[in-house]
Symmetry: C2
Subunit: 138 residues, 2 copies
């Protein structure tokens, strides 16, 4: 199992542990002739539900040598998924899942905080060791 798949699996386990049902893995949708199923290389969305609350989760591992590069992709995907969901499934909230290690260091830099705030990115912080969700941050 690749590191990326491992992180993907940890987030799923962490959601299940909090009583969420995984409804789609990956969440496939297309909008305006853009098919997000053939989004090769990108970390894919999963969908989950709990008590009529619906979420989509973009799982990022932040394992690249440059976290700035990871962040470019994360922000771009978040923007595009967010706009597609607004059209296709507006009740579903989008979260960017980031490992606690990245959240505690990289995400504390003033500029990264500024971009998260400016783009209103909702975060789901997960812990690789405990396989639990550490925080939901809106």
């Amino acid at each position: 199992m690749s590191t990326r798949d491992k992180y993907h699996d940890v987030v799923k386990q962490a959601l299940l542990a909090e009583g969420w049902t995984i409804t789609n893995d990956p969440l496939s949708f297309s909008y305006g002739k853009v098919d997000f199923r053939i989004d090769l290389g990108a970390e894919q969305l999963i969908a989950a539900e709990k008590n009529h609350r619906k979420i989509a989760v973009e799982i990022k591992s932040f394992i690249k040598p440059s976290p700035v590069q990871d962040m470019h992709e994360a922000v771009g995907q978040y923007e595009m998924y967010s706009l597609a969901l607004d059209f296709e499934d507006p009740q579903r909230e989008l979260f960017l899942a980031v490992p606690e290690r990245a959240y505690d260091s990289f995400f504390q830099r003033p500029f990264i905080k500024a971009i998260v705030k400016s783009r209103a990115i909702k975060l789901l912080v997960y812990n690789i060791e405990t396989q639990k969700i550490s925080a939901w941050i809106k």
Copy 2:
């Protein structure tokens, strides 16, 4: 010369042909402990000036097998560079440079048009063969 470097060079030549002066290649800056010089892998910004007008250009080649993947990176970089420039150099306008081939097909899809509009992304369309700028689209 890599394909990416070739595209980078074409945009520079196209700007020079329109009377711009290239002032920084790459444009290096850091903000809030994020050093954009060490942004490995990302296509870097260049800066140009003409008649007291200052621009920064994010050059994308759109040569990946999945243009959606290219677009994630392009949008994420644009958001981050845009926010950094707002703080560091607010007079400088940011453009995303895309090859005409990508503009004429991928960028005409309704969803891609929607994201460009929603994020107010300014485009500089360039032609690889003529080495000229085809359009500035704000």
